[in-house]
Protein backbone atom coordinates (compact mmCIF):
# COMPACT_ATOMS: atom_id res chain seq x y z
CA UNK A 1 0.00 0.00 0.00
CA UNK A 2 1.17 3.50 -0.82
CA UNK A 3 1.89 5.58 2.27
CA UNK A 4 0.97 9.24 2.24
CA UNK A 5 3.79 11.73 2.60
CA UNK A 6 2.65 12.78 6.08
CA UNK A 7 2.44 9.19 7.24
CA UNK A 8 5.94 8.32 6.05
CA UNK A 9 7.31 11.48 7.60
CA UNK A 10 5.59 10.56 10.84
CA UNK A 11 7.06 7.07 10.76
CA UNK A 12 10.46 8.50 9.96
CA UNK A 13 10.27 10.84 12.97
CA UNK A 14 9.19 7.96 15.19
CA UNK A 15 12.10 5.86 14.03
CA UNK A 16 14.52 8.70 14.59
CA UNK A 17 13.27 9.28 18.11
CA UNK A 18 13.58 5.61 18.95
CA UNK A 19 17.13 5.60 17.67
CA UNK A 20 17.98 8.65 19.76
CA UNK A 21 16.60 7.00 22.90
CA UNK A 22 18.64 3.85 22.21
CA UNK A 23 21.79 5.90 21.61
CA UNK A 24 21.33 7.81 24.84
CA UNK A 25 20.82 4.58 26.77
CA UNK A 26 24.06 3.12 25.44
CA UNK A 27 25.83 6.42 25.96
CA UNK A 28 24.90 6.46 29.65
CA UNK A 29 25.94 2.85 30.08
CA UNK A 30 29.29 3.18 28.32
CA UNK A 31 29.92 6.60 29.85
CA UNK A 32 29.42 5.09 33.28
CA UNK A 33 31.83 2.24 32.54
CA UNK A 34 34.49 4.58 31.15
CA UNK A 35 34.18 7.03 34.02
CA UNK A 36 34.41 4.18 36.50
CA UNK A 37 37.45 2.71 34.78
CA UNK A 38 39.23 6.06 34.56
CA UNK A 39 38.48 6.93 38.19
CA UNK A 40 40.00 3.64 39.26
CA UNK A 41 43.05 4.02 36.99
CA UNK A 42 43.78 7.54 38.20
CA UNK A 43 43.07 6.46 41.78
CA UNK A 44 40.24 8.95 42.33
CA UNK A 45 38.49 6.04 43.97
CA UNK A 46 39.95 3.10 45.82
CA UNK A 47 39.91 0.28 43.30
CA UNK A 48 40.27 -2.28 46.10
CA UNK A 49 36.82 -1.37 47.39
CA UNK A 50 35.16 -0.03 44.26
CA UNK A 51 36.84 -2.34 41.80
CA UNK A 52 36.82 -1.42 38.10
CA UNK A 53 35.31 -2.73 34.88
CA UNK A 54 38.62 -4.14 33.72
CA UNK A 55 39.15 -6.04 36.96
CA UNK A 56 35.62 -7.47 36.73
CA UNK A 57 36.22 -8.40 33.10
CA UNK A 58 39.49 -10.13 33.98
CA UNK A 59 37.77 -11.95 36.82
CA UNK A 60 35.05 -13.04 34.40
CA UNK A 61 37.63 -14.37 31.97
CA UNK A 62 39.52 -16.30 34.64
CA UNK A 63 36.44 -17.89 36.11
CA UNK A 64 35.22 -18.74 32.65
CA UNK A 65 38.44 -20.60 31.91
CA UNK A 66 38.58 -22.54 35.14
CA UNK A 67 34.87 -23.35 34.65
CA UNK A 68 33.67 -22.27 38.10
CA UNK A 69 31.56 -19.57 36.50
CA UNK A 70 29.34 -22.15 34.86
CA UNK A 71 28.91 -23.96 38.16
CA UNK A 72 27.74 -20.80 39.90
CA UNK A 73 25.44 -19.71 37.10
CA UNK A 74 24.13 -23.23 36.55
CA UNK A 75 23.30 -23.78 40.21
CA UNK A 76 21.52 -20.46 40.61
CA UNK A 77 19.65 -20.94 37.38
CA UNK A 78 18.64 -24.49 38.25
CA UNK A 79 17.40 -23.50 41.69
CA UNK A 80 15.46 -20.61 40.19
CA UNK A 81 13.81 -22.72 37.52
CA UNK A 82 12.94 -25.53 39.91
CA UNK A 83 11.35 -23.18 42.43
CA UNK A 84 9.64 -21.24 39.65
CA UNK A 85 8.08 -24.39 38.21
CA UNK A 86 6.91 -25.51 41.63
CA UNK A 87 5.47 -22.08 42.35
CA UNK A 88 3.56 -21.88 39.08
CA UNK A 89 2.21 -25.42 39.06
CA UNK A 90 1.50 -25.31 42.78
CA UNK A 91 -0.31 -22.01 42.70
CA UNK A 92 -2.41 -22.97 39.69
CA UNK A 93 -3.43 -26.17 41.45
CA UNK A 94 -4.19 -24.43 44.72
CA UNK A 95 -6.07 -21.65 42.93
CA UNK A 96 -8.18 -24.30 41.20
CA UNK A 97 -8.87 -25.92 44.55
CA UNK A 98 -9.91 -22.59 46.07
CA UNK A 99 -12.12 -21.79 43.08
CA UNK A 100 -13.71 -25.19 43.25
CA UNK A 101 -14.46 -24.88 46.91
CA UNK A 102 -15.59 -21.35 47.83
CA UNK A 103 -15.90 -22.25 51.48
CA UNK A 104 -12.28 -23.40 51.62
CA UNK A 105 -11.21 -20.15 49.99
CA UNK A 106 -13.13 -18.13 52.58
CA UNK A 107 -11.44 -20.09 55.36
CA UNK A 108 -7.94 -19.77 53.96
CA UNK A 109 -8.05 -16.21 52.66
CA UNK A 110 -6.78 -14.42 55.79
CA UNK A 111 -3.88 -16.88 56.08
CA UNK A 112 -2.86 -16.30 52.50
CA UNK A 113 -3.06 -12.55 52.87
CA UNK A 114 -0.93 -12.57 56.02
CA UNK A 115 1.65 -14.98 54.61
CA UNK A 116 1.83 -12.89 51.47
CA UNK A 117 2.53 -9.66 53.31
CA UNK A 118 5.17 -11.25 55.55
CA UNK A 119 8.73 -10.28 54.58
CA UNK A 120 9.92 -13.67 53.44
CA UNK A 121 13.59 -13.11 54.22
CA UNK A 122 12.49 -13.41 57.86
CA UNK A 123 11.67 -17.04 57.19
CA UNK A 124 15.07 -17.99 55.81
CA UNK A 125 16.83 -18.49 59.18
CA UNK A 126 14.05 -20.81 60.36
CA UNK A 127 14.26 -22.76 57.15
CA UNK A 128 17.96 -23.35 57.72
CA UNK A 129 17.23 -24.74 61.17
CA UNK A 130 14.49 -26.94 59.84
CA UNK A 131 15.93 -28.10 56.55
CA UNK A 132 19.69 -27.61 56.98
CA UNK A 133 22.10 -25.45 55.03
CA UNK A 134 21.53 -26.98 51.62
CA UNK A 135 19.71 -26.63 48.33
CA UNK A 136 16.38 -27.62 49.92
CA UNK A 137 16.42 -24.49 52.07
CA UNK A 138 17.24 -22.37 49.06
CA UNK A 139 14.41 -23.75 46.95
CA UNK A 140 11.86 -23.56 49.76
CA UNK A 141 13.00 -20.01 50.45
CA UNK A 142 12.45 -19.03 46.83
CA UNK A 143 9.07 -20.73 46.80
CA UNK A 144 8.01 -18.92 49.96
CA UNK A 145 8.88 -15.56 48.44
CA UNK A 146 6.70 -16.07 45.37
CA UNK A 147 3.99 -18.59 46.06
CA UNK A 148 1.47 -16.75 48.23
CA UNK A 149 1.15 -13.71 46.00
CA UNK A 150 1.00 -15.99 43.03
CA UNK A 151 -1.88 -18.04 44.47
CA UNK A 152 -3.81 -14.89 45.36
CA UNK A 153 -3.31 -13.35 41.93
CA UNK A 154 -4.26 -16.43 39.99
CA UNK A 155 -7.26 -17.10 42.21
CA UNK A 156 -8.45 -13.50 41.86
CA UNK A 157 -8.19 -13.94 38.10
CA UNK A 158 -10.31 -17.08 38.34
CA UNK A 159 -13.13 -15.53 40.32
CA UNK A 160 -13.32 -12.39 38.22
CA UNK A 161 -14.26 -14.37 35.12
CA UNK A 162 -17.64 -13.09 33.98
CA UNK A 163 -20.44 -14.96 35.78
CA UNK A 164 -22.56 -15.04 32.65
CA UNK A 165 -19.85 -16.99 30.81
CA UNK A 166 -20.19 -19.71 33.44
CA UNK A 167 -23.95 -19.49 33.10
CA UNK A 168 -23.51 -20.03 29.38
CA UNK A 169 -21.62 -23.27 29.98
CA UNK A 170 -24.37 -24.44 32.30
CA UNK A 171 -27.07 -23.61 29.75
CA UNK A 172 -25.16 -25.76 27.28
CA UNK A 173 -25.34 -28.64 29.73
CA UNK A 174 -21.84 -28.32 31.19
CA UNK A 175 -20.79 -28.97 34.78
CA UNK A 176 -18.24 -27.26 36.99
CA UNK A 177 -15.34 -29.08 35.41
CA UNK A 178 -16.49 -27.82 31.99
CA UNK A 179 -16.65 -24.30 33.40
CA UNK A 180 -13.09 -24.68 34.62
CA UNK A 181 -11.54 -26.12 31.50
CA UNK A 182 -13.58 -24.26 28.88
CA UNK A 183 -13.85 -20.82 30.43
CA UNK A 184 -11.98 -20.17 33.66
CA UNK A 185 -8.56 -21.45 32.63
CA UNK A 186 -8.51 -20.15 29.05
CA UNK A 187 -9.82 -16.78 30.21
CA UNK A 188 -7.05 -16.63 32.83
CA UNK A 189 -4.11 -17.57 30.63
CA UNK A 190 -3.08 -13.98 30.07
CA UNK A 191 -3.23 -13.27 33.78
CA UNK A 192 -1.26 -16.43 34.59
CA UNK A 193 1.45 -15.31 32.19
CA UNK A 194 1.76 -11.93 33.80
CA UNK A 195 1.91 -13.62 37.20
CA UNK A 196 4.69 -15.78 35.80
CA UNK A 197 6.59 -12.71 34.65
CA UNK A 198 6.50 -11.28 38.15
CA UNK A 199 7.35 -14.60 39.75
CA UNK A 200 10.44 -15.43 37.80
CA UNK A 201 12.00 -12.30 39.31
CA UNK A 202 10.71 -13.10 42.78
CA UNK A 203 12.08 -16.65 42.61
CA UNK A 204 15.47 -15.28 41.68
CA UNK A 205 15.30 -12.96 44.70
CA UNK A 206 14.34 -15.89 46.92
CA UNK A 207 17.17 -18.05 45.59
CA UNK A 208 19.70 -15.30 46.29
CA UNK A 209 18.37 -14.80 49.83
CA UNK A 210 18.68 -18.54 50.34
CA UNK A 211 22.17 -18.66 48.84
CA UNK A 212 23.32 -15.82 51.07
CA UNK A 213 22.58 -18.00 54.06
CA UNK A 214 22.83 -21.60 53.04
CA UNK A 215 24.95 -22.15 49.94
CA UNK A 216 28.33 -23.49 48.96
CA UNK A 217 27.96 -22.40 45.35
CA UNK A 218 25.81 -20.18 43.18
CA UNK A 219 25.81 -16.47 42.40
CA UNK A 220 24.38 -15.51 45.78
CA UNK A 221 27.20 -17.44 47.41
CA UNK A 222 29.72 -15.75 45.13
CA UNK A 223 28.41 -12.34 46.16
CA UNK A 224 28.26 -12.96 49.90
CA UNK A 225 31.55 -14.86 50.03
CA UNK A 226 33.26 -12.25 47.86
CA UNK A 227 32.16 -9.48 50.20
CA UNK A 228 33.42 -11.39 53.23
CA UNK A 229 36.92 -11.88 51.78
CA UNK A 230 36.96 -8.46 50.13
CA UNK A 231 37.05 -9.83 46.60
CA UNK A 232 34.87 -7.09 45.20
CA UNK A 233 35.33 -8.34 41.64
CA UNK A 234 33.39 -11.50 42.61
CA UNK A 235 30.64 -9.43 44.16
CA UNK A 236 30.24 -7.17 41.17
CA UNK A 237 30.52 -10.01 38.69
CA UNK A 238 27.85 -11.87 40.61
CA UNK A 239 25.52 -8.88 40.53
CA UNK A 240 26.16 -8.30 36.84
CA UNK A 241 25.41 -11.93 35.99
CA UNK A 242 22.21 -11.78 38.04
CA UNK A 243 21.09 -8.78 36.01
CA UNK A 244 21.74 -10.65 32.80
CA UNK A 245 19.95 -13.78 33.99
CA UNK A 246 16.95 -11.74 35.12
CA UNK A 247 16.75 -10.00 31.76
CA UNK A 248 17.02 -13.25 29.81
CA UNK A 249 14.37 -15.06 31.86
CA UNK A 250 12.01 -12.13 31.60
CA UNK A 251 12.58 -11.88 27.86
CA UNK A 252 11.82 -15.58 27.44
CA UNK A 253 8.48 -15.21 29.21
CA UNK A 254 7.75 -12.08 27.22
CA UNK A 255 8.34 -14.02 24.01
CA UNK A 256 6.06 -16.78 25.26
CA UNK A 257 3.38 -14.21 25.98
CA UNK A 258 3.64 -12.87 22.43
CA UNK A 259 3.33 -16.40 21.08
CA UNK A 260 0.17 -17.03 23.04
CA UNK A 261 -1.75 -14.04 21.66
CA UNK A 262 -4.53 -15.48 19.56
Amino acid sequence: MELSKEQSEFLHRQKKEKLQVRCMQWFIFLGFLILWELSADFEWINSFIFCSPSIVARCFWEMLQEGSLFTHIGITLLETLVSFSIVILGSILIAILLWWNPKLSKILEPYLVILNSLPKSALAPILIVWLGANYKTIIVCAISVAVFGSILNIYTGFVTVEADKLKLIKTLGGNRLDCLRLVVIPASLENILSVMKVNIGLCLVGVIIGEFLAARAGLGYLIIYGSQVFKMDWVLLGILLLCIIAIILYALLHALEKQMKY
Binding site: E162, K165, K167, I169, L172, G173, D178, L182, A187, Y262
Partner: protein, 260 residues
Amino acid sequence: MQPMLELCNVGYTYHTTAGETVALKDISFSVDSGEFVSIVGPSGCGKSTLLNIIAGLLPLSQGELLINGMPRDDYTEPIGYMLQKDHLLEWRTIYRNITLGLEIQKKLTPEAKVLIDNMLKTYGLYDFRNSYPRHLSGGMRQRAALIRTLALSPKLLLLDEPFSALDYQTRLHVADDIGNILHQQKITTLLVTHDLSEAISMSDRVLVLSSRPAQLKADYTISLSVEPKTPSTARNAPEFRDYFNAVWKEVDHGTIERAI
Protein backbone atom coordinates in the same frame (compact mmCIF):
# COMPACT_ATOMS: atom_id res chain seq x y z
CA MET B 1 -52.43 -31.06 21.93
CA GLN B 2 -49.92 -31.35 24.73
CA PRO B 3 -48.57 -27.90 25.65
CA MET B 4 -44.79 -27.62 25.46
CA LEU B 5 -44.57 -25.67 28.67
CA GLU B 6 -46.95 -25.47 31.59
CA LEU B 7 -46.45 -23.38 34.71
CA CYS B 8 -48.78 -23.64 37.65
CA ASN B 9 -48.42 -21.21 40.59
CA VAL B 10 -44.67 -20.94 40.16
CA GLY B 11 -42.99 -18.68 42.72
CA TYR B 12 -39.45 -17.88 43.68
CA THR B 13 -37.81 -16.10 46.59
CA TYR B 14 -34.15 -15.06 46.82
CA HIS B 15 -32.52 -15.23 50.22
CA THR B 16 -29.55 -13.04 51.01
CA THR B 17 -28.12 -11.73 54.26
CA ALA B 18 -29.72 -8.39 53.42
CA GLY B 19 -33.15 -10.03 53.48
CA GLU B 20 -35.42 -11.92 51.19
CA THR B 21 -36.67 -10.83 47.80
CA VAL B 22 -39.87 -12.33 46.47
CA ALA B 23 -39.16 -12.34 42.76
CA LEU B 24 -42.03 -14.40 41.38
CA LYS B 25 -45.46 -15.12 42.76
CA ASP B 26 -48.13 -17.52 41.53
CA ILE B 27 -47.20 -17.47 37.88
CA SER B 28 -49.36 -19.71 35.74
CA PHE B 29 -49.45 -19.95 31.97
CA SER B 30 -48.87 -22.47 29.26
CA VAL B 31 -47.19 -22.35 25.88
CA ASP B 32 -48.16 -24.57 22.98
CA SER B 33 -45.67 -26.43 20.92
CA GLY B 34 -44.25 -24.19 18.19
CA GLU B 35 -45.63 -21.03 19.73
CA PHE B 36 -43.58 -17.85 20.03
CA VAL B 37 -44.38 -16.07 23.28
CA SER B 38 -42.91 -12.80 24.52
CA ILE B 39 -42.71 -11.73 28.13
CA VAL B 40 -42.59 -8.04 28.95
CA GLY B 41 -42.45 -6.34 32.29
CA PRO B 42 -40.57 -3.66 34.20
CA SER B 43 -36.87 -4.28 34.73
CA GLY B 44 -36.08 -6.13 37.93
CA CYS B 45 -39.51 -7.74 38.07
CA GLY B 46 -38.27 -11.30 37.80
CA LYS B 47 -38.19 -12.14 34.09
CA SER B 48 -34.67 -13.58 34.12
CA THR B 49 -35.51 -15.48 37.28
CA LEU B 50 -38.42 -17.09 35.47
CA LEU B 51 -36.25 -18.17 32.54
CA ASN B 52 -33.56 -19.47 34.91
CA ILE B 53 -36.11 -21.68 36.62
CA ILE B 54 -37.42 -23.02 33.32
CA ALA B 55 -33.84 -23.66 32.15
CA GLY B 56 -33.11 -25.50 35.37
CA LEU B 57 -30.41 -23.07 36.52
CA LEU B 58 -32.48 -22.26 39.60
CA PRO B 59 -34.40 -24.90 41.54
CA LEU B 60 -38.16 -24.97 41.35
CA SER B 61 -39.12 -24.21 44.93
CA GLN B 62 -42.80 -23.30 44.62
CA GLY B 63 -45.42 -24.46 42.19
CA GLU B 64 -45.36 -26.87 39.32
CA LEU B 65 -43.51 -26.79 36.03
CA LEU B 66 -44.09 -29.25 33.22
CA ILE B 67 -42.12 -29.37 30.02
CA ASN B 68 -43.64 -31.48 27.29
CA GLY B 69 -45.88 -32.97 29.97
CA MET B 70 -42.99 -34.03 32.20
CA PRO B 71 -41.86 -32.51 35.48
CA ARG B 72 -38.91 -30.15 34.94
CA ASP B 73 -36.26 -32.47 36.29
CA ASP B 74 -37.37 -35.43 34.16
CA TYR B 75 -37.07 -33.46 30.95
CA THR B 76 -33.56 -34.26 29.80
CA GLU B 77 -33.58 -32.84 26.27
CA PRO B 78 -31.60 -29.70 25.63
CA ILE B 79 -33.24 -26.35 26.28
CA GLY B 80 -31.73 -23.47 24.33
CA TYR B 81 -30.95 -20.35 26.32
CA MET B 82 -29.64 -17.13 24.86
CA LEU B 83 -28.43 -14.33 27.07
CA GLN B 84 -28.28 -10.58 26.61
CA LYS B 85 -24.70 -10.60 25.44
CA ASP B 86 -23.47 -13.15 22.95
CA HIS B 87 -20.73 -14.42 25.29
CA LEU B 88 -18.70 -15.84 22.45
CA LEU B 89 -15.40 -17.06 23.85
CA GLU B 90 -12.77 -14.74 22.43
CA TRP B 91 -10.09 -17.43 22.28
CA ARG B 92 -12.13 -19.78 20.13
CA THR B 93 -12.93 -19.41 16.45
CA ILE B 94 -16.55 -18.90 15.46
CA TYR B 95 -16.78 -22.54 14.47
CA ARG B 96 -15.37 -23.75 17.77
CA ASN B 97 -17.69 -21.40 19.62
CA ILE B 98 -20.65 -22.86 17.80
CA THR B 99 -19.64 -26.43 18.57
CA LEU B 100 -19.16 -25.63 22.27
CA GLY B 101 -22.44 -27.17 23.44
CA LEU B 102 -22.02 -30.24 21.25
CA GLU B 103 -18.49 -30.66 22.57
CA ILE B 104 -19.69 -30.46 26.17
CA GLN B 105 -22.40 -33.01 25.55
CA LYS B 106 -20.10 -35.16 23.40
CA LYS B 107 -22.54 -34.96 20.50
CA LEU B 108 -20.23 -33.57 17.83
CA THR B 109 -21.31 -36.14 15.24
CA PRO B 110 -20.90 -35.89 11.46
CA GLU B 111 -24.65 -35.18 11.21
CA ALA B 112 -24.33 -32.34 13.70
CA LYS B 113 -21.45 -30.92 11.66
CA VAL B 114 -23.59 -30.99 8.52
CA LEU B 115 -26.35 -29.17 10.40
CA ILE B 116 -23.89 -26.54 11.58
CA ASP B 117 -22.41 -26.04 8.13
CA ASN B 118 -25.91 -25.54 6.76
CA MET B 119 -26.79 -23.00 9.41
CA LEU B 120 -23.50 -21.18 8.88
CA LYS B 121 -24.30 -20.91 5.18
CA THR B 122 -27.92 -19.89 5.71
CA TYR B 123 -27.04 -17.16 8.19
CA GLY B 124 -24.12 -15.82 6.22
CA LEU B 125 -21.37 -16.81 8.59
CA TYR B 126 -19.76 -19.61 6.61
CA ASP B 127 -16.87 -17.44 5.41
CA PHE B 128 -16.22 -16.34 8.96
CA ARG B 129 -16.19 -19.77 10.56
CA ASN B 130 -12.45 -19.66 11.15
CA SER B 131 -12.37 -16.04 12.32
CA TYR B 132 -12.24 -15.01 15.93
CA PRO B 133 -15.28 -13.26 17.45
CA ARG B 134 -13.54 -9.88 17.66
CA HIS B 135 -13.53 -9.70 13.86
CA LEU B 136 -17.34 -9.89 13.66
CA SER B 137 -19.95 -7.16 13.95
CA GLY B 138 -22.47 -7.19 16.79
CA GLY B 139 -25.22 -8.61 14.61
CA MET B 140 -23.02 -11.38 13.26
CA ARG B 141 -21.88 -12.27 16.77
CA GLN B 142 -25.47 -12.56 17.91
CA ARG B 143 -26.28 -14.82 14.98
CA ALA B 144 -23.27 -16.97 15.86
CA ALA B 145 -24.61 -17.20 19.40
CA LEU B 146 -27.96 -18.28 18.00
CA ILE B 147 -26.36 -21.02 15.90
CA ARG B 148 -24.47 -22.17 19.00
CA THR B 149 -27.82 -22.49 20.77
CA LEU B 150 -29.64 -24.13 17.86
CA ALA B 151 -26.80 -26.59 17.22
CA LEU B 152 -28.10 -28.65 20.13
CA SER B 153 -31.49 -28.89 18.33
CA PRO B 154 -33.53 -27.68 21.30
CA LYS B 155 -37.31 -28.02 21.20
CA LEU B 156 -37.65 -25.15 23.62
CA LEU B 157 -35.77 -21.88 23.34
CA LEU B 158 -35.43 -19.18 25.98
CA LEU B 159 -34.22 -15.73 24.91
CA ASP B 160 -33.36 -13.20 27.60
CA GLU B 161 -33.28 -9.74 26.02
CA PRO B 162 -31.04 -11.16 23.30
CA PHE B 163 -30.99 -8.00 21.21
CA SER B 164 -30.68 -5.31 23.82
CA ALA B 165 -26.90 -5.06 23.52
CA LEU B 166 -27.24 -4.17 19.82
CA ASP B 167 -27.84 -0.74 18.38
CA TYR B 168 -31.29 0.00 17.06
CA GLN B 169 -30.67 -0.65 13.34
CA THR B 170 -28.82 -3.89 13.91
CA ARG B 171 -31.46 -4.95 16.37
CA LEU B 172 -34.27 -4.68 13.81
CA HIS B 173 -32.18 -6.64 11.38
CA VAL B 174 -31.18 -9.40 13.75
CA ALA B 175 -34.70 -9.64 15.19
CA ASP B 176 -35.96 -10.14 11.63
CA ASP B 177 -33.36 -12.79 10.90
CA ILE B 178 -33.84 -14.66 14.10
CA GLY B 179 -37.62 -14.34 14.06
CA ASN B 180 -37.74 -15.87 10.60
CA ILE B 181 -35.37 -18.65 11.53
CA LEU B 182 -37.37 -19.61 14.58
CA HIS B 183 -40.73 -19.47 12.81
CA GLN B 184 -39.38 -21.69 10.04
CA GLN B 185 -38.03 -24.25 12.45
CA LYS B 186 -41.17 -24.15 14.63
CA ILE B 187 -39.19 -24.05 17.84
CA THR B 188 -41.22 -23.15 20.89
CA THR B 189 -39.78 -19.85 22.02
CA LEU B 190 -40.02 -17.67 25.08
CA LEU B 191 -38.61 -14.19 24.49
CA VAL B 192 -38.00 -11.74 27.32
CA THR B 193 -37.74 -8.17 26.11
CA HIS B 194 -38.41 -4.66 27.29
CA ASP B 195 -39.14 -3.47 23.79
CA LEU B 196 -42.90 -3.67 23.29
CA SER B 197 -42.69 -3.27 19.50
CA GLU B 198 -40.26 -6.13 19.37
CA ALA B 199 -42.54 -8.28 21.49
CA ILE B 200 -45.65 -7.58 19.42
CA SER B 201 -43.97 -7.86 16.05
CA MET B 202 -42.25 -11.17 16.77
CA SER B 203 -44.77 -13.10 18.81
CA ASP B 204 -47.93 -15.13 18.68
CA ARG B 205 -48.63 -14.08 22.24
CA VAL B 206 -47.43 -11.39 24.63
CA LEU B 207 -47.50 -11.90 28.40
CA VAL B 208 -47.26 -8.86 30.65
CA LEU B 209 -45.76 -9.23 34.11
CA SER B 210 -46.37 -6.82 36.98
CA SER B 211 -43.54 -5.22 38.89
CA ARG B 212 -41.90 -7.29 41.60
CA PRO B 213 -43.04 -9.78 42.77
CA ALA B 214 -43.90 -10.64 39.20
CA GLN B 215 -47.41 -11.81 38.60
CA LEU B 216 -49.10 -12.43 35.29
CA LYS B 217 -51.04 -9.28 34.50
CA ALA B 218 -52.21 -9.77 30.95
CA ASP B 219 -52.01 -12.28 28.12
CA TYR B 220 -52.55 -11.03 24.55
CA THR B 221 -52.88 -13.25 21.53
CA ILE B 222 -51.48 -11.33 18.60
CA SER B 223 -52.94 -11.77 15.17
CA LEU B 224 -51.75 -9.35 12.55
CA SER B 225 -53.10 -9.23 9.03
CA VAL B 226 -49.90 -9.01 7.01
CA GLU B 227 -48.42 -11.52 4.59
CA PRO B 228 -45.71 -12.62 4.91
CA LYS B 229 -45.50 -11.97 8.62
CA THR B 230 -41.99 -11.03 9.57
CA PRO B 231 -40.94 -8.86 12.49
CA SER B 232 -40.41 -5.86 10.22
CA THR B 233 -43.59 -6.20 8.12
CA ALA B 234 -45.59 -6.79 11.29
CA ARG B 235 -44.85 -3.26 12.39
CA ASN B 236 -46.88 -1.98 9.43
CA ALA B 237 -49.95 -4.06 10.16
CA PRO B 238 -53.07 -1.99 10.88
CA GLU B 239 -53.65 -3.76 14.21
CA PHE B 240 -50.11 -3.13 15.42
CA ARG B 241 -50.86 0.21 17.08
CA ASP B 242 -53.90 -1.15 18.92
CA TYR B 243 -51.90 -4.00 20.39
CA PHE B 244 -49.13 -1.61 21.24
CA ASN B 245 -51.47 0.73 23.09
CA ALA B 246 -53.15 -2.11 24.91
CA VAL B 247 -49.89 -3.64 26.10
CA TRP B 248 -48.47 -0.22 26.87
CA LYS B 249 -51.34 0.46 29.26
CA GLU B 250 -50.74 -2.77 31.12
CA VAL B 251 -47.04 -2.24 31.76
CA ASP B 252 -45.75 -0.27 34.71
CA HIS B 253 -44.27 2.72 32.98
CA GLY B 254 -41.79 4.10 35.43
CA THR B 255 -39.31 1.40 34.68
CA ILE B 256 -39.81 0.49 31.05
CA GLU B 257 -36.99 1.78 28.93
CA ARG B 258 -37.47 2.93 25.35
CA ALA B 259 -41.00 2.03 24.40
CA ILE B 260 -40.93 2.78 20.70
